[in-house]
Protein backbone atom coordinates (compact mmCIF):
# COMPACT_ATOMS: atom_id res chain seq x y z
CA UNK A 1 0.00 0.00 0.00
CA UNK A 2 2.82 2.36 0.80
CA UNK A 3 4.45 1.86 -2.59
CA UNK A 4 1.06 2.40 -4.20
CA UNK A 5 0.78 5.77 -2.48
CA UNK A 6 4.33 6.61 -3.49
CA UNK A 7 3.62 5.66 -7.10
CA UNK A 8 0.48 7.78 -6.96
CA UNK A 9 2.48 10.72 -5.64
CA UNK A 10 5.14 10.46 -8.34
CA UNK A 11 2.57 10.02 -11.10
CA UNK A 12 0.56 12.97 -9.77
CA UNK A 13 3.47 15.39 -9.93
CA UNK A 14 4.54 14.72 -13.48
CA UNK A 15 1.03 14.27 -14.82
CA UNK A 16 -0.05 17.56 -13.28
CA UNK A 17 2.83 19.46 -14.84
CA UNK A 18 2.92 17.81 -18.25
CA UNK A 19 -0.87 17.46 -18.36
CA UNK A 20 -1.13 21.24 -18.12
CA UNK A 21 1.04 21.59 -21.22
CA UNK A 22 -0.92 18.80 -22.92
CA UNK A 23 -4.23 20.55 -22.32
CA UNK A 24 -3.22 24.10 -23.27
CA UNK A 25 -1.44 22.86 -26.40
CA UNK A 26 -4.36 20.62 -27.33
CA UNK A 27 -2.25 17.48 -27.33
CA UNK A 28 -4.79 15.23 -25.60
CA UNK A 29 -5.59 13.24 -28.72
CA UNK A 30 -1.91 12.87 -29.52
CA UNK A 31 -1.21 11.62 -25.98
CA UNK A 32 -4.03 9.11 -26.30
CA UNK A 33 -2.57 8.03 -29.62
CA UNK A 34 0.86 7.43 -28.11
CA UNK A 35 -0.61 5.54 -25.16
CA UNK A 36 -2.48 3.11 -27.40
CA UNK A 37 0.12 2.76 -30.14
CA UNK A 38 2.63 1.87 -27.41
CA UNK A 39 0.92 -1.50 -27.15
CA UNK A 40 2.65 -2.37 -30.41
CA UNK A 41 5.94 -1.96 -28.55
CA UNK A 42 4.90 -4.59 -26.03
CA UNK A 43 4.08 -7.00 -28.86
CA UNK A 44 7.43 -6.33 -30.53
CA UNK A 45 9.34 -6.82 -27.30
CA UNK A 46 7.70 -10.16 -26.51
CA UNK A 47 7.83 -11.44 -30.08
CA UNK A 48 11.51 -10.67 -30.63
CA UNK A 49 12.42 -11.37 -27.05
CA UNK A 50 14.13 -8.12 -26.12
CA UNK A 51 13.57 -6.33 -22.83
CA UNK A 52 10.01 -5.20 -22.40
CA UNK A 53 10.81 -1.65 -21.27
CA UNK A 54 13.12 -0.95 -24.22
CA UNK A 55 10.57 -2.25 -26.67
CA UNK A 56 7.73 -0.13 -25.44
CA UNK A 57 9.86 2.98 -24.94
CA UNK A 58 11.56 2.74 -28.32
CA UNK A 59 8.35 2.06 -30.17
CA UNK A 60 6.34 4.79 -28.50
CA UNK A 61 9.13 7.33 -29.02
CA UNK A 62 9.11 6.44 -32.71
CA UNK A 63 5.32 6.79 -32.90
CA UNK A 64 5.51 10.09 -30.99
CA UNK A 65 8.16 11.43 -33.38
CA UNK A 66 6.00 10.60 -36.40
CA UNK A 67 2.94 12.19 -34.80
CA UNK A 68 4.90 15.31 -33.86
CA UNK A 69 6.35 15.65 -37.36
CA UNK A 70 2.92 15.23 -38.95
CA UNK A 71 1.29 17.75 -36.65
CA UNK A 72 3.99 20.30 -37.48
CA UNK A 73 3.97 19.68 -41.23
CA UNK A 74 0.35 18.91 -42.05
CA UNK A 75 -1.74 20.31 -39.22
CA UNK A 76 -5.04 19.81 -40.99
CA UNK A 77 -4.55 16.04 -41.26
CA UNK A 78 -2.71 15.44 -38.02
CA UNK A 79 -5.70 14.05 -36.13
CA UNK A 80 -6.40 11.52 -38.87
CA UNK A 81 -2.80 10.28 -38.98
CA UNK A 82 -2.74 10.01 -35.20
CA UNK A 83 -5.97 7.99 -35.36
CA UNK A 84 -4.40 5.62 -37.88
CA UNK A 85 -1.22 5.11 -35.83
CA UNK A 86 -3.37 4.67 -32.70
CA UNK A 87 -5.28 1.78 -34.26
CA UNK A 88 -2.38 0.18 -36.11
CA UNK A 89 -0.07 0.19 -33.07
CA UNK A 90 -2.71 -1.44 -30.91
CA UNK A 91 -3.53 -4.08 -33.56
CA UNK A 92 0.15 -4.81 -34.15
CA UNK A 93 0.62 -5.46 -30.44
CA UNK A 94 -2.36 -7.80 -30.23
CA UNK A 95 -1.33 -9.83 -33.27
CA UNK A 96 2.31 -10.14 -32.22
CA UNK A 97 1.21 -11.36 -28.81
CA UNK A 98 -1.20 -13.81 -30.48
CA UNK A 99 1.61 -15.44 -32.44
CA UNK A 100 4.15 -15.39 -29.61
CA UNK A 101 3.94 -18.81 -27.98
CA UNK A 102 3.66 -19.07 -24.25
CA UNK A 103 2.83 -15.48 -23.44
CA UNK A 104 -0.49 -14.38 -22.17
CA UNK A 105 -0.44 -10.67 -21.43
CA UNK A 106 -3.52 -9.43 -19.70
CA UNK A 107 -5.01 -6.56 -21.71
CA UNK A 108 -6.93 -5.45 -18.63
CA UNK A 109 -3.73 -4.77 -16.73
CA UNK A 110 -2.56 -2.65 -19.66
CA UNK A 111 -5.75 -0.66 -19.45
CA UNK A 112 -6.01 -0.32 -15.69
CA UNK A 113 -2.50 -1.13 -14.45
CA UNK A 114 -1.65 -2.56 -11.09
CA UNK A 115 -0.65 0.24 -8.81
CA UNK A 116 -0.88 -2.06 -5.78
CA UNK A 117 2.00 -4.21 -6.98
CA UNK A 118 4.51 -1.63 -8.21
CA UNK A 119 8.09 -2.87 -8.05
CA UNK A 120 10.64 -0.60 -6.38
CA UNK A 121 12.64 -0.32 -9.62
CA UNK A 122 9.65 1.36 -11.28
CA UNK A 123 9.44 3.85 -8.44
CA UNK A 124 13.07 4.84 -9.06
CA UNK A 125 12.41 5.23 -12.77
CA UNK A 126 9.41 7.41 -12.04
CA UNK A 127 11.49 9.51 -9.68
CA UNK A 128 14.08 9.95 -12.41
CA UNK A 129 11.46 10.98 -14.95
CA UNK A 130 10.00 13.45 -12.45
CA UNK A 131 13.45 14.99 -12.23
CA UNK A 132 13.64 15.28 -16.01
CA UNK A 133 10.19 16.87 -16.18
CA UNK A 134 10.98 19.41 -13.46
CA UNK A 135 14.31 20.35 -15.03
CA UNK A 136 12.85 20.67 -18.52
CA UNK A 137 9.82 22.70 -17.51
CA UNK A 138 11.80 24.81 -15.04
CA UNK A 139 14.54 25.65 -17.48
CA UNK A 140 12.28 26.34 -20.44
CA UNK A 141 9.26 27.67 -18.54
CA UNK A 142 8.98 31.01 -20.28
CA UNK A 143 9.79 29.55 -23.68
CA UNK A 144 7.08 26.93 -23.16
CA UNK A 145 4.67 29.59 -21.97
CA UNK A 146 5.28 31.71 -25.08
CA UNK A 147 5.05 28.69 -27.35
CA UNK A 148 1.79 27.54 -25.76
CA UNK A 149 0.16 30.94 -25.72
CA UNK A 150 1.20 32.35 -29.08
CA UNK A 151 3.37 30.09 -31.20
CA UNK A 152 3.99 32.61 -33.97
CA UNK A 153 5.09 35.32 -31.59
CA UNK A 154 7.39 32.83 -29.88
CA UNK A 155 8.88 31.99 -33.25
CA UNK A 156 9.47 35.66 -34.02
CA UNK A 157 11.15 36.10 -30.63
CA UNK A 158 13.60 33.31 -31.46
CA UNK A 159 12.15 30.63 -29.16
CA UNK A 160 13.35 27.20 -30.40
CA UNK A 161 9.80 26.14 -31.22
CA UNK A 162 10.65 22.95 -33.11
CA UNK A 163 13.09 21.67 -30.51
CA UNK A 164 10.69 22.36 -27.64
CA UNK A 165 7.76 20.79 -29.45
CA UNK A 166 9.63 17.57 -30.17
CA UNK A 167 11.09 17.49 -26.65
CA UNK A 168 7.69 17.99 -25.09
CA UNK A 169 6.19 15.19 -27.14
CA UNK A 170 9.12 12.88 -26.35
CA UNK A 171 8.60 13.56 -22.66
CA UNK A 172 4.88 12.89 -23.04
CA UNK A 173 5.73 9.55 -24.69
CA UNK A 174 8.15 8.52 -21.93
CA UNK A 175 5.75 9.61 -19.22
CA UNK A 176 2.78 7.83 -20.75
CA UNK A 177 4.73 4.58 -21.17
CA UNK A 178 6.19 4.79 -17.69
CA UNK A 179 2.87 5.41 -16.01
CA UNK A 180 0.94 2.85 -18.06
CA UNK A 181 3.01 0.17 -16.35
CA UNK A 182 2.04 1.49 -12.98
CA UNK A 183 -1.50 2.77 -13.23
CA UNK A 184 -2.66 1.72 -16.69
CA UNK A 185 -3.57 3.48 -19.88
CA UNK A 186 -6.97 4.80 -18.87
CA UNK A 187 -5.67 6.44 -15.72
CA UNK A 188 -2.82 8.15 -17.59
CA UNK A 189 -5.29 9.96 -19.80
CA UNK A 190 -7.42 10.87 -16.81
CA UNK A 191 -4.51 12.23 -14.76
CA UNK A 192 -3.26 14.23 -17.76
CA UNK A 193 -6.55 15.84 -18.68
CA UNK A 194 -9.04 16.12 -15.81
CA UNK A 195 -6.97 18.14 -13.29
CA UNK A 196 -5.67 20.69 -15.83
CA UNK A 197 -9.17 21.17 -17.15
CA UNK A 198 -10.45 22.00 -13.67
CA UNK A 199 -7.37 24.07 -12.80
CA UNK A 200 -7.50 26.18 -15.97
CA UNK A 201 -10.65 27.92 -14.78
CA UNK A 202 -9.17 29.08 -11.50
CA UNK A 203 -5.48 29.54 -12.16
CA UNK A 204 -4.08 33.01 -12.81
CA UNK A 205 -1.03 31.70 -14.64
CA UNK A 206 0.33 28.59 -16.30
CA UNK A 207 2.56 27.76 -13.33
CA UNK A 208 -0.41 28.02 -10.97
CA UNK A 209 -2.34 25.75 -13.29
CA UNK A 210 0.48 23.21 -12.97
CA UNK A 211 0.51 23.44 -9.17
CA UNK A 212 -3.27 23.15 -8.88
CA UNK A 213 -3.21 20.16 -11.24
CA UNK A 214 -0.59 18.39 -9.15
CA UNK A 215 -2.61 19.00 -5.97
CA UNK A 216 -5.79 17.76 -7.61
CA UNK A 217 -3.97 14.67 -8.85
CA UNK A 218 -2.70 13.97 -5.34
CA UNK A 219 -6.20 14.30 -3.96
CA UNK A 220 -7.65 12.01 -6.64
CA UNK A 221 -5.03 9.29 -6.26
CA UNK A 222 -5.07 9.17 -2.46
CA UNK A 223 -8.85 9.33 -2.20
CA UNK A 224 -9.23 6.80 -5.00
CA UNK A 225 -6.78 4.41 -3.37
CA UNK A 226 -8.66 4.74 -0.09
CA UNK A 227 -11.93 3.77 -1.77
CA UNK A 228 -10.23 0.96 -3.64
CA UNK A 229 -8.72 -0.39 -0.41
CA UNK A 230 -11.84 -0.17 1.70
CA UNK A 231 -14.38 -1.40 -0.81
CA UNK A 232 -12.08 -3.77 -2.67
CA UNK A 233 -12.44 -2.03 -6.04
CA UNK A 234 -10.01 -1.75 -8.98
CA UNK A 235 -7.61 0.99 -7.96
CA UNK A 236 -7.22 2.78 -11.30
CA UNK A 237 -10.96 2.91 -11.91
CA UNK A 238 -11.61 4.17 -8.37
CA UNK A 239 -9.15 7.03 -8.83
CA UNK A 240 -10.80 7.96 -12.12
CA UNK A 241 -14.27 7.95 -10.59
CA UNK A 242 -13.15 10.36 -7.88
CA UNK A 243 -11.65 12.60 -10.55
CA UNK A 244 -14.80 12.31 -12.65
CA UNK A 245 -17.03 13.43 -9.77
CA UNK A 246 -14.86 16.52 -9.28
CA UNK A 247 -14.81 17.12 -13.02
CA UNK A 248 -18.61 17.22 -13.22
CA UNK A 249 -18.87 19.41 -10.15
CA UNK A 250 -16.44 21.85 -11.76
CA UNK A 251 -18.34 21.79 -15.05
CA UNK A 252 -21.60 22.53 -13.29
CA UNK A 253 -20.27 25.34 -11.12
CA UNK A 254 -19.05 28.66 -12.40
CA UNK A 255 -15.75 30.20 -11.40
CA UNK A 256 -16.10 30.87 -7.70
CA UNK A 257 -13.74 33.83 -7.91
CA UNK A 258 -16.04 36.57 -9.16
CA UNK A 259 -14.56 38.59 -11.92
CA UNK A 260 -14.23 42.26 -11.19
CA UNK A 261 -16.60 43.81 -13.67
CA UNK A 262 -14.91 45.22 -16.69
CA UNK A 263 -14.94 48.93 -16.83
CA UNK A 264 -16.08 50.29 -20.12
CA UNK A 265 -15.17 53.59 -21.65
CA UNK A 266 -11.49 53.42 -20.85
CA UNK A 267 -10.56 51.84 -24.11
CA UNK A 268 -7.56 53.23 -25.85
Amino acid sequence: MRSALLAGLLASIMCGIIGTLVVVNRLVFLSGGIAHAAYGGIGLAFFFGFPYLWGIMGFSLLMAAIMAAVSLKAKHRADTIIGVLWAVGMALGVILLDITPGYNVDLMSYLFGSILTVPVSDLWLMLLLNGVVLLFVGYYYHDLLSLSYDEEFAQVRGVPVRFLYFSLIAIIALLVVMIIQVVGLILVIALLTIPPYIAEKYAGSLSRMMIYSVLLNLFFTTTGLWFSYHFNLTSGASIIMVAAVCFFISVLTKRFKLKPSLRNGESF
Binding site: V156, G204, S267
Partner: protein, 253 residues
Protein backbone atom coordinates in the same frame (compact mmCIF):
# COMPACT_ATOMS: atom_id res chain seq x y z
CA UNK B 1 17.99 58.69 -48.31
CA UNK B 2 18.93 55.78 -46.11
CA UNK B 3 18.99 52.26 -47.43
CA UNK B 4 15.73 50.37 -47.05
CA UNK B 5 15.43 48.28 -43.87
CA UNK B 6 13.13 45.76 -45.50
CA UNK B 7 13.95 44.51 -48.99
CA UNK B 8 11.63 42.08 -50.69
CA UNK B 9 12.72 40.84 -54.12
CA UNK B 10 10.59 38.83 -56.57
CA UNK B 11 8.90 36.84 -53.86
CA UNK B 12 6.38 34.13 -54.62
CA UNK B 13 4.48 32.07 -52.10
CA UNK B 14 1.88 29.32 -52.37
CA UNK B 15 -0.16 27.46 -49.76
CA UNK B 16 -0.23 23.79 -50.78
CA UNK B 17 0.05 24.59 -54.49
CA UNK B 18 -2.32 27.54 -54.47
CA UNK B 19 -0.50 30.73 -55.34
CA UNK B 20 -1.02 33.51 -52.80
CA UNK B 21 1.67 35.98 -53.77
CA UNK B 22 3.54 36.47 -57.02
CA UNK B 23 6.37 38.73 -58.17
CA UNK B 24 6.26 40.77 -55.02
CA UNK B 25 9.01 43.34 -54.58
CA UNK B 26 8.96 46.03 -51.94
CA UNK B 27 11.31 48.33 -50.06
CA UNK B 28 10.41 49.75 -46.69
CA UNK B 29 12.46 52.73 -45.61
CA UNK B 30 13.29 53.85 -42.14
CA UNK B 31 10.53 55.67 -40.24
CA UNK B 32 7.98 54.84 -42.87
CA UNK B 33 4.41 54.29 -41.72
CA UNK B 34 3.12 51.84 -44.25
CA UNK B 35 -0.42 50.63 -44.55
CA UNK B 36 -0.80 47.25 -46.21
CA UNK B 37 -4.32 47.00 -47.52
CA UNK B 38 -6.20 44.70 -49.83
CA UNK B 39 -9.16 42.37 -49.97
CA UNK B 40 -9.55 39.39 -47.64
CA UNK B 41 -7.54 36.45 -48.87
CA UNK B 42 -5.41 38.77 -51.00
CA UNK B 43 -2.22 37.82 -49.19
CA UNK B 44 -1.72 40.69 -46.70
CA UNK B 45 -1.11 38.49 -43.70
CA UNK B 46 1.01 36.11 -45.77
CA UNK B 47 3.22 39.02 -46.80
CA UNK B 48 3.55 40.02 -43.16
CA UNK B 49 4.48 36.50 -42.10
CA UNK B 50 7.11 36.36 -44.82
CA UNK B 51 8.65 39.56 -43.48
CA UNK B 52 8.59 38.15 -39.95
CA UNK B 53 10.21 34.89 -41.01
CA UNK B 54 7.23 32.80 -39.87
CA UNK B 55 6.84 31.69 -43.49
CA UNK B 56 9.61 31.12 -46.00
CA UNK B 57 9.15 32.32 -49.60
CA UNK B 58 8.99 29.69 -52.35
CA UNK B 59 10.97 32.03 -54.59
CA UNK B 60 12.77 35.31 -54.11
CA UNK B 61 14.33 36.85 -51.02
CA UNK B 62 13.18 38.74 -47.95
CA UNK B 63 15.82 40.70 -46.05
CA UNK B 64 15.39 42.82 -42.95
CA UNK B 65 18.28 45.01 -41.79
CA UNK B 66 20.32 43.32 -44.50
CA UNK B 67 19.85 39.83 -43.05
CA UNK B 68 17.40 36.94 -42.72
CA UNK B 69 14.23 37.81 -40.78
CA UNK B 70 15.06 35.15 -38.17
CA UNK B 71 18.41 36.70 -37.43
CA UNK B 72 16.88 40.15 -37.11
CA UNK B 73 14.34 38.82 -34.56
CA UNK B 74 15.60 41.02 -31.75
CA UNK B 75 14.96 44.19 -33.76
CA UNK B 76 11.43 43.28 -34.86
CA UNK B 77 8.20 43.88 -32.97
CA UNK B 78 5.03 41.99 -33.82
CA UNK B 79 1.41 42.57 -32.81
CA UNK B 80 -0.65 39.63 -34.08
CA UNK B 81 -4.31 39.51 -34.90
CA UNK B 82 -6.28 39.23 -31.67
CA UNK B 83 -8.45 36.38 -32.89
CA UNK B 84 -5.43 34.14 -33.39
CA UNK B 85 -4.49 34.16 -29.77
CA UNK B 86 -5.53 31.43 -27.39
CA UNK B 87 -8.68 32.29 -25.43
CA UNK B 88 -9.26 30.77 -22.00
CA UNK B 89 -5.54 30.42 -21.47
CA UNK B 90 -4.55 31.18 -17.88
CA UNK B 91 -2.09 34.01 -18.31
CA UNK B 92 -1.75 37.41 -16.72
CA UNK B 93 -1.21 40.72 -18.50
CA UNK B 94 2.28 40.91 -17.04
CA UNK B 95 3.23 37.43 -18.26
CA UNK B 96 2.12 38.32 -21.78
CA UNK B 97 4.20 41.49 -21.84
CA UNK B 98 7.24 39.71 -20.39
CA UNK B 99 7.04 37.37 -23.37
CA UNK B 100 8.50 40.25 -25.37
CA UNK B 101 11.68 39.95 -23.29
CA UNK B 102 12.04 36.19 -23.77
CA UNK B 103 15.29 35.56 -25.58
CA UNK B 104 14.62 31.94 -26.39
CA UNK B 105 16.73 29.02 -25.26
CA UNK B 106 15.71 28.77 -21.63
CA UNK B 107 17.56 29.68 -18.44
CA UNK B 108 17.06 29.52 -14.69
CA UNK B 109 16.74 33.24 -14.17
CA UNK B 110 14.41 34.39 -16.85
CA UNK B 111 14.12 38.12 -16.34
CA UNK B 112 16.54 40.68 -14.97
CA UNK B 113 15.68 43.82 -13.01
CA UNK B 114 16.18 45.72 -16.24
CA UNK B 115 13.65 43.51 -18.03
CA UNK B 116 11.12 44.15 -15.30
CA UNK B 117 11.69 47.91 -15.44
CA UNK B 118 11.16 47.89 -19.20
CA UNK B 119 7.98 45.85 -18.79
CA UNK B 120 6.66 48.31 -16.22
CA UNK B 121 7.48 51.26 -18.45
CA UNK B 122 5.67 49.72 -21.43
CA UNK B 123 2.63 48.82 -19.38
CA UNK B 124 2.45 52.35 -17.99
CA UNK B 125 2.83 53.70 -21.51
CA UNK B 126 -0.28 51.85 -22.67
CA UNK B 127 -2.06 52.54 -19.36
CA UNK B 128 -2.34 48.89 -18.35
CA UNK B 129 0.05 48.77 -15.37
CA UNK B 130 -2.76 48.77 -12.81
CA UNK B 131 -4.29 45.73 -14.50
CA UNK B 132 -1.04 43.78 -14.75
CA UNK B 133 -2.24 40.83 -12.65
CA UNK B 134 -5.54 40.52 -14.50
CA UNK B 135 -6.09 37.43 -16.62
CA UNK B 136 -6.03 38.21 -20.35
CA UNK B 137 -9.49 36.75 -20.99
CA UNK B 138 -11.00 39.18 -18.48
CA UNK B 139 -10.00 42.18 -20.62
CA UNK B 140 -11.89 43.97 -23.36
CA UNK B 141 -10.72 43.76 -26.96
CA UNK B 142 -9.14 47.20 -26.83
CA UNK B 143 -7.31 46.47 -23.60
CA UNK B 144 -5.98 43.20 -24.98
CA UNK B 145 -4.71 45.02 -28.04
CA UNK B 146 -2.82 47.49 -25.84
CA UNK B 147 -1.24 44.60 -23.97
CA UNK B 148 -0.09 43.09 -27.25
CA UNK B 149 1.33 46.46 -28.25
CA UNK B 150 3.22 46.66 -24.94
CA UNK B 151 4.54 43.15 -25.52
CA UNK B 152 5.90 44.24 -28.89
CA UNK B 153 7.39 47.45 -27.44
CA UNK B 154 9.41 45.82 -24.65
CA UNK B 155 11.68 44.19 -27.19
CA UNK B 156 12.64 47.75 -28.25
CA UNK B 157 11.89 47.10 -31.90
CA UNK B 158 13.19 49.25 -34.70
CA UNK B 159 10.35 48.08 -36.89
CA UNK B 160 6.88 47.21 -35.72
CA UNK B 161 4.48 44.97 -37.62
CA UNK B 162 0.79 45.00 -36.74
CA UNK B 163 -1.73 42.59 -38.21
CA UNK B 164 -5.31 43.90 -38.24
CA UNK B 165 -4.77 45.50 -34.83
CA UNK B 166 -8.24 46.97 -34.72
CA UNK B 167 -10.48 44.03 -35.50
CA UNK B 168 -12.01 44.03 -32.02
CA UNK B 169 -11.83 47.70 -31.07
CA UNK B 170 -14.49 50.39 -31.41
CA UNK B 171 -14.01 53.40 -33.69
CA UNK B 172 -13.01 55.83 -30.95
CA UNK B 173 -10.48 53.34 -29.65
CA UNK B 174 -9.11 52.90 -33.15
CA UNK B 175 -8.40 56.59 -33.65
CA UNK B 176 -6.65 56.83 -30.29
CA UNK B 177 -4.61 53.73 -31.01
CA UNK B 178 -3.49 55.06 -34.38
CA UNK B 179 -2.60 58.41 -32.85
CA UNK B 180 -0.44 56.53 -30.41
CA UNK B 181 1.25 54.68 -33.25
CA UNK B 182 1.92 57.99 -34.95
CA UNK B 183 3.82 59.14 -31.89
CA UNK B 184 5.84 55.93 -31.88
CA UNK B 185 6.57 56.48 -35.53
CA UNK B 186 9.00 59.27 -34.64
CA UNK B 187 11.54 56.58 -33.85
CA UNK B 188 10.05 53.30 -35.07
CA UNK B 189 9.20 52.14 -38.57
CA UNK B 190 5.62 50.90 -38.67
CA UNK B 191 3.86 48.46 -40.98
CA UNK B 192 0.15 47.97 -40.40
CA UNK B 193 -1.91 45.37 -42.18
CA UNK B 194 -5.45 46.59 -42.23
CA UNK B 195 -8.65 45.43 -43.75
CA UNK B 196 -10.14 48.89 -43.69
CA UNK B 197 -8.64 51.98 -45.24
CA UNK B 198 -9.40 54.43 -42.45
CA UNK B 199 -5.79 54.44 -41.37
CA UNK B 200 -4.76 55.85 -44.75
CA UNK B 201 -6.40 59.20 -44.44
CA UNK B 202 -4.70 60.35 -41.29
CA UNK B 203 -1.67 58.32 -40.39
CA UNK B 204 0.04 56.33 -43.11
CA UNK B 205 2.89 57.73 -45.17
CA UNK B 206 2.75 55.07 -47.84
CA UNK B 207 0.43 52.37 -49.04
CA UNK B 208 0.93 48.87 -50.35
CA UNK B 209 -2.04 47.23 -51.98
CA UNK B 210 -1.84 43.46 -51.93
CA UNK B 211 -3.95 41.16 -54.02
CA UNK B 212 -1.68 38.33 -55.17
CA UNK B 213 0.52 41.06 -56.57
CA UNK B 214 1.68 44.16 -54.80
CA UNK B 215 1.19 47.77 -55.76
CA UNK B 216 3.17 50.32 -53.86
CA UNK B 217 2.45 53.99 -53.57
CA UNK B 218 4.78 56.25 -51.69
CA UNK B 219 2.04 58.52 -50.43
CA UNK B 220 -1.02 57.93 -48.29
CA UNK B 221 -3.42 57.77 -51.17
CA UNK B 222 -4.84 55.12 -53.35
CA UNK B 223 -4.46 55.72 -57.04
CA UNK B 224 -7.07 54.73 -59.54
CA UNK B 225 -4.64 52.20 -60.98
CA UNK B 226 -4.06 50.58 -57.62
CA UNK B 227 -7.75 50.34 -57.01
CA UNK B 228 -8.40 48.74 -60.33
CA UNK B 229 -5.48 46.37 -60.22
CA UNK B 230 -5.54 45.39 -56.60
CA UNK B 231 -9.15 45.34 -55.72
CA UNK B 232 -11.22 44.63 -58.76
CA UNK B 233 -14.06 45.50 -56.43
CA UNK B 234 -13.73 49.04 -55.11
CA UNK B 235 -17.15 48.58 -53.51
CA UNK B 236 -15.49 47.24 -50.41
CA UNK B 237 -13.37 50.33 -49.94
CA UNK B 238 -16.23 52.71 -50.45
CA UNK B 239 -18.28 50.62 -48.09
CA UNK B 240 -15.79 51.46 -45.36
CA UNK B 241 -16.46 55.13 -45.83
CA UNK B 242 -13.37 56.05 -47.79
CA UNK B 243 -13.72 59.20 -49.86
CA UNK B 244 -12.97 58.91 -53.53
CA UNK B 245 -9.81 60.85 -53.08
CA UNK B 246 -7.62 60.63 -50.03
CA UNK B 247 -5.71 63.84 -49.63
CA UNK B 248 -2.10 63.36 -48.76
CA UNK B 249 -1.94 66.32 -46.40
CA UNK B 250 -0.87 65.68 -42.81
CA UNK B 251 -1.81 67.78 -39.85
CA UNK B 252 1.31 66.87 -37.97
CA UNK B 253 2.36 69.41 -35.36
Amino acid sequence: MSTPIVEIRDVAFAYSGESVLQDVSLDIRQRDFMAVIGPNGGGKTTLLKLMLGILKPDRGTVRIFGTQPREAASRIGYVPQDIHVNRGFPISVQDVVRMGRVRGGGGWKHFSKKDMAIVQQALEQVEMWSLRFRRMDELSGGQRQRVFLARALVSKPEILFLDEPMSSVDTKGQTDFYDYLLELNRTVTIVVVSHDAMILSSHAKSVACVNRQLFFHNAPEITKDMLEMAYHCPVELIGHGLPHRVFPEHKED
